[in-house]
Structures are given as structure tokens and as C-alpha cells.
């Protein structure tokens, strides 16, 4: 098991109105080649910052200390080619004035050296793989003509278009219904199993993270509080914070919050 990427003593500091905010503090973490690793933790805990740091996409005004190495690659990664990134906000990944077929084809053309017709055929195939209904008409659609979940699937298609070594999905399925979510999970599993892809999956949905990932990393206040095999984290968390996160999950068997007697209907 080699590490695709090896993170050592990573500290990331943002500057805000002249003050420095440490968003990540002394993180040490290996992302193993071919694994599915989930990152969970409360809002503001540093999950997106970690993802951006790995992808080399942090804003210029941030300060990065520590090392991010790529033993599994043997060289520095090329953004877009080696790393596919699905951003937390799907509209952030999509150009509002370009038909979506062209946006996906462009990724395939640039990084895989395909001709435009080949790249369009690839784009259509990708839209089928993310289960977008009616891919022919979707190729010609603009982002505003798609529903929230449809946009999110387009963003996933664009992120995997170049066959990346590492797929980073930051809250990439929060706008998807459970059926499409399950299909995307199956697609990601196939990409990992068949194409040797590695997955870094960030989600507020702990049940979904548990279903998809082999290991889970728990973040809080910019620190890695716990890392382990999914079953161990879910069934026997070592940290009280992890326990609290699990308890806050509202599952299908949760006690209703609604006090029915208090409401007249």
C-alpha cells in the first residue's frame, strides 16, 4: 500500500482583515493509492481547506506550512489531469454561458488530446455514466436550465473526464436524491476498482460517507481528531466528538423533532 499523497505537518493560515486564521493545524495524513477516504467534521473544521491544499488550489493570500508529497505519482500532480475536483457549490465548477457538453468535452480534449468529435462522444458517455436523463439534449443545455442535482452530476462528469488519479468530491452529492446518490456511489466504486482511481470524499452526510468509504477521517477546529476504518469509526468511535457527530445524524428511524400535539392541523 503506497501513499498516493503524503501530508506532513500541514498548517494552513488564512489572512482576514489583517488577522491570521489557522484553518488547518499540523495535519499528518496519507491518502493510500486506490482507497476511498471520507472526511467528516463540523462546518468550519477545515475540510474544504484540506481538499484545496491537496489540489494546489488555495487562494494566494493563504500561508501553507508543512509538506504535501506524491510518492504514488513520483512527481508533482497536474491539476485537472491528475486531480478531478468537484466543488462544494456546483455552480462554482460550471461556466454559466457555455453549453455543458462543450464544458465537459473541453476537459477531455485538453487533457486527453482528443479531437472535438471524440471529446463530444466522450462527454455524452460521461453524462450517461452519471445517469443524466436525455444526454443528447443535456449536451446542449446551459447550467441554468438544469435542476440542482443535474448540475451536480455534470460537475462530477467534468471532474472525471480526464481520468484523474485522485477524485476530490467536496460535498458533491448533497443536492442529489437517494437513488442518484446510490448510482453515483456505485459509479465512484467502479472508477476506483477498475480505473485505479483514489477518492477523497467530503460530506456532511455521515451515513453516505460510511457507505462509500473504507476509512474515515474526522476533523474539528482544523485538527485531525480521529482516523480509522469505517466500521471502527461508526461502531466504536474513540473520540467523544465523533460520537456526538454520529448521534446528531437524523436517520430514517430518528425520533421526530416535531411535537405533534403542539401543532394544530
Amino acid at each position: 500500500m503506497t501513499a498516493l499523497t503524503s501530508i506532513r505537518d500541514l498548517t494552513v493560515t488564512y489572512r482576514r482583515d489583517g488577522t491570521a486564521v489557522a484553518a488547518l493545524k499540523n495535519i499528518g495524513l496519507d491518502v493510500v493509492t486506490g482507497e476511498r477516504l471520507a472526511v467528516i467534521g463540523e462546518s468550519g473544521s477545515g475540510k474544504s481547506t484540506l481538499a484545496l491544499a491537496i489540489a494546489g488550489l488555495l487562494p494566494a493570500a493563504s500561508r501553507i506550512d508543512g509538506r504535501i508529497e506524491w510518492p504514488g505519482l513520483g512527481r508533482a500532480p497536474l491539476g485537472g489531469r491528475d486531480i478531478g475536483f468537484v466543488f462544494q457549490d456546483p455552480s462554482a465548477s460550471l461556466d454559466p454561458v457555455m453549453p455543458i457538453g462543450k464544458q465537459i468535452a473541453e476537459v477531455a480534449r485538453t487533457h486527453l488530446g482528443l479531437t472535438w468529435p471524440q471529446a463530444y462522444a466522450k462527454a455524452k458517455n460521461l453524462l450517461e455514466r452519471v445517469r443524466l436523463p436525455d444526454p443528447d439534449s443535456a449536451l446542449l443545455a446551459f447550467p441554468h436550465q438544469l435542476s440542482g442535482g443535474q448540475k451536480q452530476r455534470v460537475a462530477i462528469a467534468a471532474a472525471i473526464a480526464a481520468g484523474p488519479k485522485l477524485l476530490i468530491a467536496d460535498e458533491a452529492t448533497s443536492a442529489l436524491d437517494t437513488i442518484v446518490q446510490a448510482e453515483i456511489v456505485a459509479l465512484i466504486r467502479r472508477l476506483v476498482a477498475e480505473d485505479g482511481m483514489t477518492l477523497l470524499f467530503i460530506s456532511h452526510d455521515i451515513a453516505l460517507a460510511a457507505e462509500l468509504a473504507e476509512r474515515i477521517a474526522v476533523f474539528r477546529h482544523g485538527q485531525l481528531v480521529e482516523l480509522g476504518a469505517t466500521a471502527r469509526i461508526v461502531d466504536a468511535p474513540a473520540q467523544p466528538y465523533t460520537r456526538a457527530l454520529l448521534d446528531a445524524h437524523i436517520g430514517l428511524d430518528a425520533e421526530p423533532l416535531l411535537n405533534r400535539s403542539g401543532l394544530a392541523t
Binding site: 463540523e42 435542476s147 442535482g149 436524491d177 430514517l252 430518528a254 425520533e255 394544530a264 392541523t265
Partner: protein, 258 residues
């Protein structure tokens, strides 16, 4: 009398040379103080219904009655006045606000525009609104981009309740929040509902959340109502094919699929 009564609502869109019925002959009602959830697969028409109810888009056919009036017939001034009573909170509050505006400014606007409080009274109202949604008063002077996602969603709710609405449309309003903040915001919404009898049209993919907060649920499929009823009854034992598929596909924390 229903607070909101929607009958035979239809909205078609053209896309890539084809016409699709995003919403196809949908009827439902919401009572005062009630939470009606809309769930269903991606593209089934949930957000389109939200936009139609808010009159952000106009239907091709159908009727919407709000507080007893023909809502689609309201024009300009009458519509503006009525909008104070029909508010919305969407998934991404950052997209709904000017990120450089301060929290105080975001809350001042509705109070001023709808003439709810005089200039001298407004700072006190804003402080009270922040307190209602559990935010510290000193947050008022911060810019929207300087607060966290969960805090922003609270500001969006404070803005929505500022005008004393009878109905709030929430489209995936808690989907992007972490579990602890999500729980707090759901509790807040239920408190407001108990105190002021606000009704919610609650759109969410999260069936666990729908089951926990909604009185009734409508499951949509391809623009049509596939199934509706008591939220717990429907989600615990769905009858429609789409309901069964949605529930079966929901992830379980301990892998115990029923």
C-alpha cells in the same frame, strides 16, 4: 380555510429543442402552521413548484390561492405587499445576499421596504431578530462573507421571519449544513412554527429529515404527484414505486437496511 391552495399547476420548459413538463397538473394545499414536505428524484419539479408558488416564474396553467386570494392575479403593489407574508430560504444563502453587505443591512432591508419598523426602531428590531435565531448581537456589523455557512443560514431565516410571514418556502435550506447546525436550525424552525403558526413548504432530499420535521409529504416523480400523506406513514411504508426506490436507496449509518 387553507393558507395555500394550488390547483392543476403546470409548467413546461423547452430545452435542446424538446418541451418538458417540469410540473404537470399538480394540486395540493397547506394549512396555517403546517409543514408540507416535497421530496422526489432530482428533476422531478420540486424547485419549479417553489418558484411558481413564489411567483418567480409564471405557470402555463393552474391556479394558486394564497390567504384566500387569487395569487396569480395580483399585480405590482398588491403582489409586493403580499410577498412580505410569503418568504423563502434557499440552499446557498451566499448566492441570495450581497456578500459584502453587513448582517444588519440584510435584516434592515425587509423592515424598511415593507414599512415594518421606523428608522429609529429598526436597530432594536434587528437585535431582536438576531436573538430569535440564536446569533450574537455583535454579528450585526460583520459582512456576510465573514460568517460561517451555518450562521449565514440563520441570517437567511431571520430575514425571512422579519416580515412576519405566514408561509416560508425552504428549498434544500438545510442540505449543505453539518449535522449539528442542521439539528439546531430545524429546532429553530419548529420553535418559530409553534410560536407564530408559520407554515413551511419544505423541500429536501433527506428523507430522515423530512420524516422528523414534516406533517405531510408529497412525493413527486417527473412533475406529477406519485404519492402523498402523513410524512412518517409514507416514509416508513411507501406505496409508490418511486417512494419505495427512494427509501430503499437511502444510506443507513449502520448498514441495517430494512
Amino acid at each position: 380555510m387553507s393558507l395555500l391552495a394550488v390547483s392543476n399547476l403546470t409548467k413546461r420548459y423547452r430545452r435542446g429543442g424538446k418541451s418538458i413538463a417540469a410540473v404537470d397538473d399538480v394540486s395540493f394545499h397547506i394549512d396555517p402552521g403546517e409543514t408540507l414536505a416535497l421530496a422526489g428524484p432530482s428533476g422531478s419539479g420540486k424547485s419549479t413548484i417553489a418558484r411558481l408558488v413564489l411567483r418567480l416564474v409564471e405557470p402555463d396553467a393552474g391556479r394558486i390561492e394564497f390567504e384566500g386570494d387569487d395569487f396569480l392575479a395580483l399585480r405590482a403593489a398588491a403582489l409586493r405587499a403580499r410577498r412580505a407574508r410569503l418568504q423563502m430560504v434557499f440552499q446557498d444563502p451566499l448566492a441570495a445576499f450581497n456578500p459584502r453587505a453587513t448582517v444588519a443591512r440584510v435584516l434592515d432591508d425587509p423592515l424598511r421596504i415593507h414599512g415594518i419598523a421606523s428608522r429609529s426602531e429598526r436597530p432594536r428590531r434587528i437585535a431582536a431578530l438576531l436573538e430569535r435565531v440564536g446569533l450574537a448581537a455583535e454579528l450585526a456589523s460583520r459582512a456576510i462573507h465573514e460568517i460561517s455557512g451555518g450562521q449565514r443560514q440563520r441570517v437567511a431565516i431571520a430575514r425571512a421571519v422579519a416580515t412576519k410571514p405566514t408561509l416560508i418556502v425552504l428549498d434544500e435550506a438545510v442540505s449543505a449544513l453539518d449535522v449539528s447546525v442542521r439539528g439546531q436550525i430545524l429546532e429553530l424552525l419548529l420553535d418559530l412554527q409553534r410560536q407564530e403558526r408559520i407554515a413551511y413548504l419544505f423541500i429536501s432530499h433527506d428523507l430522515g429529515v423530512v420524516r422528523a420535521v414534516a406533517h405531510r409529504v408529497i412525493l413527486l416523480d417527473a412533475g406529477q404527484i406519485a404519492e402523498s400523506g402523513d410524512a412518517r406513514a409514507v416514509i416508513d411504508a411507501p406505496r409508490s414505486a418511486i417512494g419505495k426506490a427512494l427509501v430503499a436507496a437511502a444510506p443507513r449509518l449502520h448498514g441495517t437496511r430494512r
